[in-house]
Amino acid sequence: MGKMKKVHIVIISGILLLIALVMYWLNLGVWKNTVLITTTFIAGWSIANKAIQSARMKAFSIELLVTIAVIGALMIGEYVESAAVTFLFIFGAYLEARTLEKTRSSLKTLIDMAPLEATVLKDGERVILPVEEIKQGDHILIQSGEKIAIDGKIVSGKALINEATITGESVPAAKNIDDLVFSGTIIDNGYIEVEAQKVGDDTAFAKIIELVEEAQEAKAKTQKFLERFANLYTPAIIILSIIVFIITHNIELAITFLVIACPGALVISAPVSLVAGIGNGARNGTLIKGGEVMENFAKVNAVVFDKTGTLTEGKPSVTNIKSFGMDEEALLKITAEAELISEHHLGQTIVKEAKDRGVSLTNEATDFTVEKGHGLYATVASNKVVIGNRKLLSKNNISLDMSIDQFAIQEEKNGNTAIFVGVNNKVAGIISIADQVRQEAVDTIRQLKAAGVEQTIMLTGDNKHTAEKVAAQLGIDTVFAEMLPEDKVNHIKRLQNEGYRVAMVGDGINDAPAIALADVGLAMGAAGTDVAMETADVVLMSDKLNRIPYAYSLAKATIRNMKQNMFFAIVAVSLLLVGVLVGKVFLASGMLIHELSVLIVILNAIRLVRYKQRNK
């Protein structure tokens, strides 16, 4: 029997049951009973087997109850009952497995996207190797229609790549030399040679799969409660059925009660919804790390955004250079020289601008000190240079003319960040830098509000005027400008004290403390960045903002689905138990209803696999 597939046993016992029915019509009483007993044994074999196996492990199982009930039925000559119960049980288990697979299908389709082999360039020759044999540094060739098997950097060629498996974004991305490509993505059009940087289990794709698998095991609070409940419930039902037996002296009723009371639908109600929801998210580039995150996210009513790189493109550029008392190019040169070793993104923007304009940076900065959140000091060619915001200038007693300040405010009102440059204690100029607002940002804020977010907040280290302009453009409720990293944390604490459930959206690296403190932390554009993928509760693979309302609505839908399932399961089992006690439900019919309730719960969860956000 061991080799025989479950589905065959189901089919054989089903056919035997039909034969028995025909014999009943033909009045072949004896034959009918023989067939029924055979059915019981064929279908019951695997049940009894499992019952014994778990009994050996000292684990209590529903199989044990069913086996006892069936043996009881056989002893009192209820062959129809025994055959029907065993058949229904294995048939139900089979359907359950098939439908459960559907709730888990999202992850499976993802896993199936990983290619098994790749064309590797070895000593100038092309060899097809299984992915396990590819090593870091190998050069891989990939052409149109093929899947990429490793994470790496393009060394030659260009291609349009469909990265939906990683980012959930179906519009192909154009990639050129030096761009990064990811395992599991598909070349839509083009031909590239890639140097492998990460292989096997180290690829972003493998990490995503692993995170999703772990997320699916991470239980929700409700689920933990259900399991504790089931731990109490099962012994309670055993005691109750003993009481039923003592009162009624009816062993059949007591066993029926015991079998029917098994909390199958209840135990599975929460996990099926969560697995389907998490799977759907993963397929759409949003990784929600487990049941508890799902629950917290569904309750969020305030969303805090970091501005730069989150609501804006994060690719600032110099829009204007205004110098006072020196040549425009000289100002850019001295500023860029001071900023050359700075890691600040605005500093790098200035350096890039200087290089683009062909300004040669000849002097090396000395005495380089950073004033966090304000700017920096440096000495360039024996000139003392101060670069930063207004506060830094006044701190160094560099006075601003009214007209200069007016100019700066005007630049800021136009959405620029004004960088003040002071040379030898005098204002030397203002460099304006602007960062484009993401085009999908307006829709994102609107959709979040439509889905139930009460407060949208923007925190930024940028100046007040620029921040307010961006907020007004996007319809954000509250803005806090000129924030230092620790201020962001304090604002999250304040919102939580006011009773809000706060989600924080950032890039996952600079905003790590705020993301960690928020009830739910979201990291954007996390594909390939391990830190962000590990610290955030919700990981958005692409840097598309519209994934946020999607993940939020998905979390709400998942929790709603889970609650429907739990409610339905409780009602079903209560009705069944009452039915058994008042003598309206018997073992076989009870088993049928019980299996049906489990299936309905799973089918309800499958809806989440297909869930798509409605465009409001």
Binding site: A59, A97, D201, E213, Q216, I268
Partner: protein, 73 residues
């Protein structure tokens, strides 16, 4: 310390988790056994001087869960 990951046929009852984890946990040489219910996987870390991955697989199959594939890391 070696690690192995078994892919099983779809698990349907959450009680399977306890059964498999319990049986593997009792074996000498097994450091940690974890069942991923939803992805139907078993992850075991074990000392290969004391027990082999084939023996572990045998235990899982004896419990009534056919192993589809094993991946040793």
């Amino acid at each position: 310390m070696s690690k192995v990951q078994y892919q099983l046929e779809p698990l349907t009852c959450p009680s399977c988790i306890k059964k498999i984890e319990g049986a593997l946990g009792k074996m000498i040489g097994v450091q940690d056994a974890k069942v991923l219910f939803n992805s139907s996987k078993v992850k075991v870390s074990f000392n290969k001087d004391q027990v082999t991955s084939e023996e572990l697989q045998e235990i899982i199959e004896k419990l009534g869960y056919p192993v589809i594939s094993a991946k040793i890391a």
